[in-house]
């Protein structure tokens, strides 16, 4: 029997894989998007427990754009995917905060708002900050020659107070730096624009709203989505070019190209190739979700997001213990301007965690460690936001072990490999990386990377 033959096989039905699949199907390419799991979405998915739907990995959709705006990344992305903006039903944040040491920046969406926040909290720094904003607006982070270097050193050009530098680095590091202790300047520019100059929003209905839209569009264009279809191997032909995939169940799909969102190290492993140990990502997270008896704002906490570091200089690195509760992100999903939660509060805390330590625990140890770490994280959140424990009606928590179980790759490393392959090449012909390890991060970044890879490597490729 002849094997199925595709123009492109996409490994992984996360954001990047779905976006790549849509672009290809839209132009009549025969494409299938495969995922080992039963639910699509990858790191951004949802699950049900006790009759309640929990989102994984959605605090905020970055790159908020007001209706009518056409030239920023989010509207451009939606245009490429032909998903009407209304379908996402985006609700803006109320306001958010950065809390580092004793400092506090309170901001909403748009550049005027973050400038006001800096003027209030660091009046002597506002002129330098405005010059920084200008530099961020003018810099082309996707320029041909990556203009790397550490953001911390760059920021010192404009900003003298190290505490303000830290305030700007904390949210950006948490929203997508795969490197320990360091945020690259290019990455800083992308994330600073998407979080502060544009802003934060959330689809009403949560991640499911976005996932439904992506799936609808993929199927409408004639793309296939196959769940519980794990890729066991990426097959190479005699010229060492990718020529198909072998599924866990033994089925072979032949194709012209493979786009993989499984991460750099994992993708090479699927080809039977090794990677140097330093290419494995080291950063992972624990996240708690507390369902509260009353709206979070009614309990006295009004901010949508709080990016915090209890100390004045924070350590963005794999912790030596199971979690590092001295810094993190707090998200009150019911503090968006509209939401589906009625009179309940939905309150999440995310902190850095050590994947290897978590995965080394036995079952009983694991359960006890979760409780202990949750207590540490929620107590820390209480110092900068709200301690949700007295108000909690339902609770869940995920760890690096959960992330690994449900998305497989990356060694539990949410932001993937520190050695990012920007152009998507990993040294195997007809194989291209999309998503996390291309250096584009977060939901919008991953979606854009899927679009860009489909355009560049398949649609614009010379026909063979």
């Amino acid at each position: 029997m002849a094997n199925e033959r595709y123009d492109a096989v996409v490994v992984g039905a996360g954001m990047s894989g779905l976006a790549a699949g849509i672009r290809l199907a839209q132009y009549d390419k025969r494409v299938v998007v495969l995922d080992r799991h039963a639910l699509w979405g990858g790191l951004n998915s949802f699950y049900k427990r006790g009759g309640r739907r929990y989102d994984t990995g959605l605090h905020a959709l970055t790159n908020w754009a007001p209706p009518g705006e056409k030239s920023t990344p989010l509207p451009k992305l939606l245009r490429q995917l032909r998903i009407p903006r209304e379908e996402l039903d985006l609700a803006e944040q109320g306001f958010s905060e950065v809390r580092v040491g004793g400092a506090r920046l309170t901001f909403g969406n748009g550049s005027a708002s973050i400038e006001e926040a800096v003027a209030r909290a660091f009046p002597s720094e506002i002129d330098g900050f405005k010059r920084l904003v200008q530099a961020v607006k003018e810099h082309d982070p996707f320029g041909a020659r990556p203009d790397g270097g550490a953001a911390r050193a760059r920021l010192a050009q404009w900003i003298h107070d190290p505490l303000l530098v830290e305030c700007l680095l904390v949210p950006v590091a948490f929203y997508g730096s795969a490197r320990e202790d360091e945020v690259e300047w290019d990455l800083f520019v992308v994330l600073f624009r998407s979080m502060f100059l544009e802003g934060l929003a959330r689809p009403v209905g949560g991640i499911k709203t976005l996932l439904d839209a992506l799936r609808r569009r993929l199927v409408e264009c004639g793309g296939e989505l196959r769940m519980r279809a794990g890729v066991a191997r990426i097959l190479l032909n005699e010229r060492q070019a990718a020529s198909g995939v072998l599924l866990d169940g033994g089925e072979v799909l032949e194709c012209e190209r493979v786009l993989s969102s499984a991460g750099r190290v994992e993708t090479l492993r699927l080809c039977g190739l090794d990677s140097p140990a330093e290419h494995l990502g080291r950063l992972s997270f624990c996240e708690t979700t507390s369902i509260l008896a009353r709206p979070t704002a009614a309990l006295g906490h009004g901010a949508t997001m709080v990016f915090f570091a209890l100390d004045e200089r924070f350590a963005y690195r794999r912790p030596n213990g199971l979690v590092d509760a001295t810094s993190g992100v707090v998200c009150a999903s019911d503090n968006y301007q509209r939401h589906e939660y009625g009179d309940a509060g939905v309150y999440r805390v995310t902190c850095l965690a050590n994947h290897d330590l978590w995965s080394g625990l036995h079952d009983e140890e694991y359960a006890a460690a979760k409780l202990r770490c949750a207590d540490e994280m929620l107590a820390a959140a209480g110092k900068v936001a709200l301690d949700p424990r007295p108000h909690t009606t339902a609770f869940d928590m995920f760890t690096p072990k959960t992330i690994r179980r449900y998305t497989g790759p990356h060694g539990g490393a949410v932001y993937g490999s520190p050695a990012q392959a920007r152009d998507g090449h990993v040294g195997v012909e007809r194989l291209h990386l999309v998503g996390t390890d291309q250096g584009t991060l977060g939901l919008v970044g991953s979606l854009l990377s899927g679009v860009a890879a489909a355009n560049r490597h398949v649609l614009m490729a010379p026909t063979t």
Partner: protein
Amino acid sequence: MNREEIILAIKDIIQTIAPDEDLSELKTDVRLRDQIELDSMDFLDIVMELRKRYGVQVPEEDYKELATLDGCVAYLAPHMQGKTLKVGV
């Protein structure tokens, strides 16, 4: 396809890609991207739609020929001969 039909064909493609743009006032001798919000990704989509709808292949080095509606007519006329206009697809 004659000149009017080619212009209609291109406008219909742009409307598919950018449903929120008003195309009624488009001038034929002014660069499209100076009149409406179109970036290089959108030009790729125009080219992909031309291939999908009319089987016309535009190589990357020729994208610049499509900068204005007049440019589109001049460049596409030979390729669109004998093809039927497809709108609203």
